[in-house]
């Protein structure tokens, strides 16, 4: 019961959606769209679960006064304030019927002055870590690493003004080696070939994994790391 029902649901839903592609008539024609909507609705409940878990984990941390517990208060406060500001549209000029992201609403201000700066800076921080990683990766230890190094370097230079300045003196007959042109060629020819190989590989992997899930061969999502009981 605990395993058979979910396996049956996966099997029926998966096969129904595959068969629906071959029957473009009602009700099959709309099934893909309907199931995607159901998926979206269920995903929100998964998020509710996630929010509840966040409160539980950080609430426990505060209650038991574990290491760095004051920061957990900040997390909970941040979550609750944005939640209340958004769900009740506090400060929204048109009240509850207005648009969520209307200028002047507290939710929009929290987004503009807290969420957006934090998110952008957090991601921009990766620039430094990437630079540090590239220092290690870019030491051309072998031919393959050298190819990666050269491609990345050309792309980096080709997408900035300095790339153009470095090779502007090249004659027309050698314009292919003008760094922005070279960067464009790398992006549209060898990079495209590599991307295609990766995409096709990923697709075949996704198709195989989908079949494994639908047929119940892959059961790790049920917990217990693929037990067959």
């Amino acid at each position: 019961m605990r395993r058979q029902v979910p396996l049956a649901i996966t099997f029926i839903v998966g096969w129904t959606l595959i068969i629906a592609v071959f029957i473009p008539h009602p009700p099959f024609g709309q099934l893909g769209e309907n199931f995607t909507t159901y998926f979206d609705i269920i995903a929100v409940f998964a998020f509710i679960l996630g929010g509840g878990n966040l409160i539980r984990v950080h609430g426990n941390k505060v209650y038991k006064k574990r290491q760095d517990w004051p920061y957990s208060i900040v997390t909970i406060l941040g979550f609750v304030v944005v939640l209340i500001a958004g769900l009740f549209k506090i400060g929204n000029p048109d009240g509850l019927s207005g648009d969520l992201t209307q200028p002047g609403s507290l939710f929009q201000d929290l987004y503009t002055y807290i969420f957006a700066p934090l998110q952008a800076t957090m991601f921009s921080l990766l620039a430094f870590f990437v630079a540090s990683a590239s220092y290690r990766a870019f030491r051309a230890k072998n031919k393959e690493a050298t190819v990666l190094l050269v491609a990345a370097f050309i792309i980096l230079l080709g997408r900035t003004p300095i790339g153009g300045y470095l090779t502007f003196w090249l004659p027309e007959s050698l314009s292919f080696f003008h760094i922005p042109n070279l960067a464009y060629w790398i992006m549209t020819i060898p990079n495209l070939a590599g991307q295609r190989a990766i995409l096709i590989g990923i697709s075949l992997g996704v198709i195989a994994m989908s079949l494994r899930l639908i047929l119940g061969i892959e059961r790790s999502y049920l917990g217990g790391e693929g037990e067959r009981s």
């Binding site: 839903v13 941040g78 969520l100 997408r159 060898p190 295609r196 190989a197 198709i207």
Partner: protein, 225 residues
């Protein structure tokens, strides 16, 4: 966004500096900003998903919004049942609502296993949809685009690169002889791809960083034009 040394800009600037301060070392200001980011982003996505998915796709469709508020929107399944006496197809969305609610049983230790049902629905939907969409739009479309006339160097490189890249991913046969050579060429193409992606990632992160510095020096402090 307003410019100048305002309270809201100062808060944004302090948060920006707080995150950047991690480059010096892990410090209380960074931890504070990080914790705030976790809470605020969870709240933000929760609210966004509620207004983008749950409200219009479940509550409005079933007619619950109209039942409890005076919102001026299309009648839902409940209103159609009351006014016209017929059961609308929208009632099927109730199944999604029930499945979603079952997801919350994970919080109850003895009933946690029921949460596998909505999870199974999600896995089944994803598998069913991805099986066909990946086959059509990725595998077949990419293969079709690779079948090119070998009348230019570019086309030859694309065909060789794609085939050799795929040979590299084929692990059922040992990479020796012709297979080994092709796989080796494939690795070079993949390295070019990774290099290009790496270059692009660095560029995008740098532009974000420039944006933050621009905010601090231009928008907040007003030091530049």
């Amino acid at each position: 966004m307003e410019t100048g040394f305002t309270l809201s800009n100062t808060i944004a600037a302090i948060l920006t500096i707080g995150i950047i301060s991690f480059l010096w070392k892990d410090n209380p200001l960074y931890k504070l900003c990080e914790s705030l980011f976790v809470g605020v982003s969870a709240g933000y996505w929760f609210v966004s998903l509620y207004y983008q998915n749950l409200l219009p796709k479940l509550f409005d469709t079933l007619g619950l919004t109209q039942l409890f508020t005076s919102a001026d929107i299309e009648p839902g399944a409940i209103q159609i049942l009351i006014n016209e006496g017929r059961v609308d197809n929208s009632f099927l969305y109730l199944i999604a609502g029930i499945l979603g609610a079952l997801m919350l049983t994970r919080l109850i230790p003895n009933l946690g296993w029921i949460s596998r049902w909505p999870l199974a629905f999600i896995v089944g939907t994803t598998s069913g949809l991805y099986f066909t969409t990946y086959f059509q739009s990725n595998a077949m479309a990419q293969l079709r685009s690779t079948i090119l006339p070998l009348d230019s160097i570019g086309n030859v490189v694309i065909v060789i690169g794609t085939v050799c890249g795929l040979v590299y991913f084929y692990f059922s046969k040992e990479h020796k002889g012709v297979m080994g050579g092709a796989a080796r060429v494939g690795v070079w193409f993949l390295m070019i791809t990774f290099g290009a992606s790496f270059g692009y990632t660095v560029m995008s992160r740098m532009s974000l960083l420039i944006g933050r510095f621009d905010f601090i020096f231009s928008t907040w402090l007003g030091l530049t034009g």
